[in-house]
Symmetry: C2
Subunit: 311 residues, 2 copies
């Protein structure tokens, strides 16, 4: 196939490109390096099956020119802000980089008759559902972050464009995804700060915030497998792990892997790391398990593996 | 109160302004006359409690200047495209006029610390749920129109802005709303065409499309009543009538009121009027009924009353 990976220089996008190239597809990547990096895709330069465009997806004319030229069979849309903490302070980031990228890609798919889409959604669309194992049918959808809001809005847009233009869509709602090439988030942050000062570590909140961490290799395997069976309309799955790892446990795992002892944890206090952060989240994954996908590593194992990969 | 009615020159917005002025509030209206009309608000000129700004809500600087000057207590957001048939052919209308108006208003509310919002949402967020009486908890939310998608996206944005900025929000999901000052839709259209040719009438679809029609006076009474008890967080209600009126029944009511007999109906065939039109829809209104609001008129009565008002 001829595929577009929008946001392909990002952490997850670049791993997806590796997997798509390994399957023999011709891959076009568009990225503006807002979050993505040249380093993530530098190993692909010279690959005759890989083409890169450095541009903003919200430039409709430039995007349309790429669609004119490339004749895509499948669009993988991973172009979004992924730094929720940054947009909590500056919400227009999500309007421009998460919602509007979806709108402009869908407009090009409509005008260029591209009929297959993968969309990277998020558990953040659910909002706070403490004590509940959240399934795809859980309501109400009440995102508490601008990021979750823009992803929920994108899902809505995709629903209408899919119906109106007969686009087949696969949507995964991701948890925290980690692994090689990680550029931000709690693990990246803790490792960096412990390298600077191995004696103490400041931890946002009270350390009990607890979320499922999934490895990017498990996620990419899911996308690669399910893309081939894509159905008419929209197929939506939660993807992740049913276990969670607390922030204090992450700190313990990192200290263990780095061989640090007696590190003093300084908690800033409060339930969440920052306003808009969902402090406790757990998945119900019955739907994707029934469809034949299972994560390889638990949340704790994923954290431990990632720490080895990034330290 | 000092209130903003965004989209106040529209059909519903202008009735809401009348009701807010009648309660003694100071009302500022912003409208760009995309769908709204000067005629809808001309009776308010000279009213010292009414101020009008002709501008596009997506011009953030101009909008911010109005917020700087007016010091709002409450924002009523009815600025949206409402011609679903138009945006079915030209989806960017909804991106600009329905979703982006919400984003820019919320940004101004955030930066100007305005803490109360009413939002005009729609039954179109649900998508096709034939055979079901749709409640606020019904899932999945799968809009089939670009209009429904932009409204669902707006609800998502509102959820995050509400949480992050402690904005109290009242959301009503409207059905088809009709009454005086109606400027488009099936009733307006049938009356217009029967005046031109009283012998025959072309009806899109097979005429069995069936929806709840609610009178704008009932809707405005709901907004006026519930605004005073606005709660922290988001309170969301379906509002409407539990009965429905088919398109053929609308034609019959109009012909009856216009004194026309033996009008030949020519059906274009198919289930819906156009792609993106939900052909059959019914509400579960238990939540708003329990809260003390009931419609005055059934769907058929509302259609009959509106025909009298517009012929």
């Amino acid at each position: 196939m001829n595929v577009l990976v929008a946001g392909g220089a990002g952490f997850i996008g670049s791993h997806l490109i590796d997997a798509l190239l390994a399957e023999g597809h011709r891959v076009v990547c568009i990225d503006n390096f807002f979050i993505g990096t040249k380093k993530n895709i530098e190993h692909l330069s010279g690959n005759p099956k890989f083409t890169f465009y450095e541009q903003n997806i919200c430039d409709q004319d430039a995007l349309s020119a790429v669609f004119d030229k490339e004749n895509f069979d499948f669009v993988f849309h991973l172009a979004a802000n992924s730094d929720i903490q940054a947009s909590a302070k500056n919400p227009p980031i999500e309007y421009h980089n998460t919602y509007s990228t979806t709108f402009h890609l869908l407009e090009c798919m409509r005008t260029h008759q591209v009929k297959k889409l993968f969309f990277a959604s998020t558990s953040a669309v659910y909002g706070e559902k403490e004590g509940e194992h959240v399934a795809e049918t859980t309501t109400p959808l009440e995102p508490i972050s601008y990021y979750g809001a823009a992803k929920l809005g994108s899902e809505g847009l995709i629903s209408a464009y899919s119906y109106m233009n007969r686009i087949s869509v696969l949507i995964f709602r991701f948890p925290n995804v980690i692994g090689p090439r990680l550029t931000h988030g709690v693990i990246f942050d803790f490792v960096k700060r412990l390298k600077e000062n191995p004696k103490e570590l400041t931890i946002l909140g009270d350390g009990t915030q607890s979320k499922p961490y999934m490895h990017v290799f498990d996620l990419v395997r899911g996308i690669i497998t399910f893309k081939d069976g894509i159905q008419e309309g929209i197929t939506l799955y939660n993807i992740g792990v049913e276990t969670q790892t607390s922030v204090t446990r992450i700190a313990d795992i990192i200290c263990g892997k780095m061989g640090l002892e007696n590190v003093k944890y300084r908690y800033t206090g409060g339930r969440g790391g920052w306003r808009g952060d969902v402090p406790v989240f757990a998945y119900n994954l019955d739907k994707i398990h029934s469809a034949g996908w299972q994560a390889t590593w638990t949340s704790d194992e994923t954290v431990a593996k990632t720490v080895e990969e990034v330290i």
